[in-house]
Symmetry: C2
Subunit: 644 residues, 2 copies
Amino acid sequence: MTDSSDRFADKSVAPSRRKFLNTAAVAGLAGVGLAACNDKSAPAAGAAAPASAAAVAHGSAGGVHPKPGELDTYYGLWSGGHTGDMRVLGMPSGRELTRIPCFVPDALVGWGITNESKAIMGTKPDGSLKYTVADTHHTHASYKDGDYDGRYAWINDKINSRIARIRLDYFTCDKITELPNVQGFHGIFPDKRDPVDPAINYTTRVFCGAEFHIPLPNNGSDLDKPEAYRSMFSCVDAETMEVRWQVLIDGNCDLAATSYDGKLAATNQYNTEGGVKFADMMSVERDACLFFNVARIEQAVKDGKFKTYGASKVPVVDGTLKSNADPKTALTAYVSVPKNPHGVNASPDGKYFICAGKLSPTATVIELARVLDWFDGKLDKLDAAIVAEVEIGLGPLHTAFDGRGNAYTTLFLDSQLVKWNVDAAIKFHAGDKTAKYVVDRLDLQFQPGHVNASQSETKNADGKWLAVGCKFSKDRFLPVGPLHPENEQIIDISGDKMVLAADHPVRGEPHDFIIFKRELLRPKQVYELDDFPNAIKDAKDGGVFRNGKKVEVKMTSQAPMFSLTEFKLKKGDVVTLTLTNLDKIEDLTHGFAIPKYNVNFIVNPQETKSVTFVADQPGVFWCYCTHFCHALHLEMRSRMIVEA
Amino acid sequence: MTDSSDRFADKSVAPSRRKFLNTAAVAGLAGVGLAACNDKSAPAAGAAAPASAAAVAHGSAGGVHPKPGELDTYYGLWSGGHTGDMRVLGMPSGRELTRIPCFVPDALVGWGITNESKAIMGTKPDGSLKYTVADTHHTHASYKDGDYDGRYAWINDKINSRIARIRLDYFTCDKITELPNVQGFHGIFPDKRDPVDPAINYTTRVFCGAEFHIPLPNNGSDLDKPEAYRSMFSCVDAETMEVRWQVLIDGNCDLAATSYDGKLAATNQYNTEGGVKFADMMSVERDACLFFNVARIEQAVKDGKFKTYGASKVPVVDGTLKSNADPKTALTAYVSVPKNPHGVNASPDGKYFICAGKLSPTATVIELARVLDWFDGKLDKLDAAIVAEVEIGLGPLHTAFDGRGNAYTTLFLDSQLVKWNVDAAIKFHAGDKTAKYVVDRLDLQFQPGHVNASQSETKNADGKWLAVGCKFSKDRFLPVGPLHPENEQIIDISGDKMVLAADHPVRGEPHDFIIFKRELLRPKQVYELDDFPNAIKDAKDGGVFRNGKKVEVKMTSQAPMFSLTEFKLKKGDVVTLTLTNLDKIEDLTHGFAIPKYNVNFIVNPQETKSVTFVADQPGVFWCYCTHFCHALHLEMRSRMIVEA
């Protein structure tokens, strides 16, 4: 890994490497530099792999690039990685339409500056933000009848174990919840219907996996007893955003998936060993896909069969292996999968969850009906729910679907996307060695992680466009210094052969994302004045209102003027400034900046926002509009006068 | 402006509107909603305007969209507006390659989190950041022999009057300076050579305009005497980033330009009235383009002919109109231009500065040789330096050049780009009414502001690609709620007719930008270990080093491991954690996050960074790599144990 000439070495590998990798081989991986060093010119690895499709084709299938003025046909919601936001893309163009600040301040919007956003983000006793960093990985949206319903999306923060909700009408974050008792909250998935009530055919819960084992409570006790560390799986209420319940488990959680019937949620587990050191985390040959029986867990909570930890009031049920040996009462079921799997994805026909092997070159297909059979005492061996476990290539991570029976799995080490047929894989696994389950392979640039396709995680997977997040772009774009962009590649999957349509550099580091038809959203372009209790509905209601040292400044904006051309304060005043944008025209946003006072925020049409600050610097401060609004935008100012 | 049906009203205007707009007409603008409401389907306005070129053409001139894996041929450096960063685009694709954090924290990089970045950004006595918002408008790069030399770029923060420097080898911000005595620092431009020393044929100064008049010093005195408020023009040293000198002026500064011979800098002025209220700022019919005689100013400073204000030690010379009436000793020259101009740009032949009228439908061409003549006492009337003042359309804002004698000016109110010939305009102005200076018009979507073309602001303007920042995108992209993206449009200007090649949605709100050939940069992809005095050059040198409550944690990273798999602290420790990335391979970046401690940052190959925090929460905290680096990236962790 330390010799840069390694980049150009031949990385073609012998077929034997396609067998399960043992710990020794894995340790070797680090040594020979396979992580970031797959040579794009190397031949497709392994005897079983057909030659890659021609990698370069431009504008196939009607074209990935809309003509100027043409609208995209799909939305993409992308997690923003350690920029802590959600990104909204037009697809298939891959153009970024907006970024929605969630966990991290945004100087444009004033996120983390306005009182309204600070209340959502959470503050310390001194009023400053509790957190200003985040690491988002997964974003998923609310369902109805097995498809997206355009209400909400959710996104995680792995660093601080927070979940944020996005309103998909206004494209804003409206709630953030910090999960108790866990660390390394990673996977996230909403349910698709209620496991018990058939009338609830839409999302009411969001499931959250946590990766890191910690002492419970994590208050300084049991520091040196890693064998006592535990992880949990959490259920958050989709509406209230409160944590409904948690499940104490063996092993950890990585990603999450939910069944279309609402009965099962699952998480893949890569460190069932509970190792706290690197090598310990990959000592066993099989880890697990851990299933949760949602109805039984909620009944257990109702029945009072739970504990709480520390200051948290959240009920925690026992989902450990030992306590759930009897299928008929079990809350959880640990289906084994080859070592250190990454990614669990639900097929759009509702039948299967598929785990990708990561350190095993395999995909494992688990039939959900059989898992339910096990819970019902009708299946002796839980692992009999595994209907296929087939070799697909090196370093499989995530899987998408086309609705025509094919799965598309990213191969991190092979830098490939493999298209394989699920039914054929099941036949092959059942003994039919003539079943050719690998349909196509496509070289990617480079080291792909997350993958998703249009409507892939719904019943209406349409098999048109696929996007893949490549973790390394290397020399794929003009050099911009040591920090490279990642490479999001867009692939046409409408035909038998996959065709690479476009490369898009993106700021590190998006993880998961979803792509869905534009018709599924009903965005609102102008706010409702009445939605803001502090709205100033008429410029006449504005002014400076003093109560001792507490001062309220109320103003409105209407291009190209603020209703107050000046306002006077005294040094030491505690000022709350409220601004309502009375402009009603779509796209007519104003900004409001106060020099030297670290204030900037925007007000969209009919929106109201407020900021609170201490007038601690005397002098003249020209508040000005920061968002171009009019030919006389530069002249749009209000003079703040702070008397010494 | 309040009736949304207004969007669909016919906005075609009578030719009479192409005359100079008086104050009454301007006030009317706000009323009839011209700002954001130009209908894209309206015919090109005015009798003088030829029909627009066909607005939609896809992939002309070899294509704006590179095939997957193809590199762009130009770099673009874009100011990020009120996101406070600089954006680096590949052109002509318009793809964003990276964002360089400057004035505002960045949770990905750890900008504002690491000790190194906080030292650049500036902190309060308590160690927190002095500012977390910014509003960047202008970015320009260092010159040599009249073209970019790939050393530096600069960018302004209008909210807090700061200037940041970007190293163009590593694409990072290395210095930030807060300008004293000014508010509303807006325009920025580096000089292109020294006015006196012919050996200095490269940038050594950066000029900074300030828009808002303030009392001097701005400490609470003269609050109610707006007639005493003043603005200044500042000169910053390109290497030390210290403010060399300032010039006290009449009126304000808006944008800036510099001559190719190094002798002149200029700023356009839109509020020579010194008005503090909206209507007052546009009461006179002509404002000014204000020229600075750089050599004379520096001689005056040497001669001690300056003052200082308040706590600032920066020498301030007197550039007011009254004190500079004698051309032979004048430091400044106020050339009149029609009311409230916006934008001053230097033609690539070195001969002219062009001011756009904004509230006048004109462009004013000022011949620099004549301005120098005036300083030399050879030109009686300074305004005789105006060699053309021609009508080009409504709301002209900024001008770019193709190196073939043509200028391209954005028309905010007409939502058009007008291509006009400078020599023909000069002939027309001189009396030849047969000179057809308007060459072409192109409808834009919508309300264009900044414009620039490939190499436009150098002697090597090549007339290939032009980009324009449209302030409103309206219905040009899929709706994403009330906050619309702006629309950056890319136009092929290689032929006689301008051809719209692509629309790109961008996060609000980029202002100025430059586009230049990729060969002009020499980026470095891997850092030098020795460039970091606190580098840990060998994992063996790492560990936990305690001195009372002060603890140093030193570690290295090498995929997929941190050198310390765990480290122990005691509650209350003041910890400085230093991380050196020993990986040498291009693109092999690691991240380092500490849950609940609000820490995340990245280390690029061979880079060292540090953070300081108080270990105030006991428990186990899994520090993990946030930047995908290896198949075993998820397992790359270090266990921080804080004893109660």
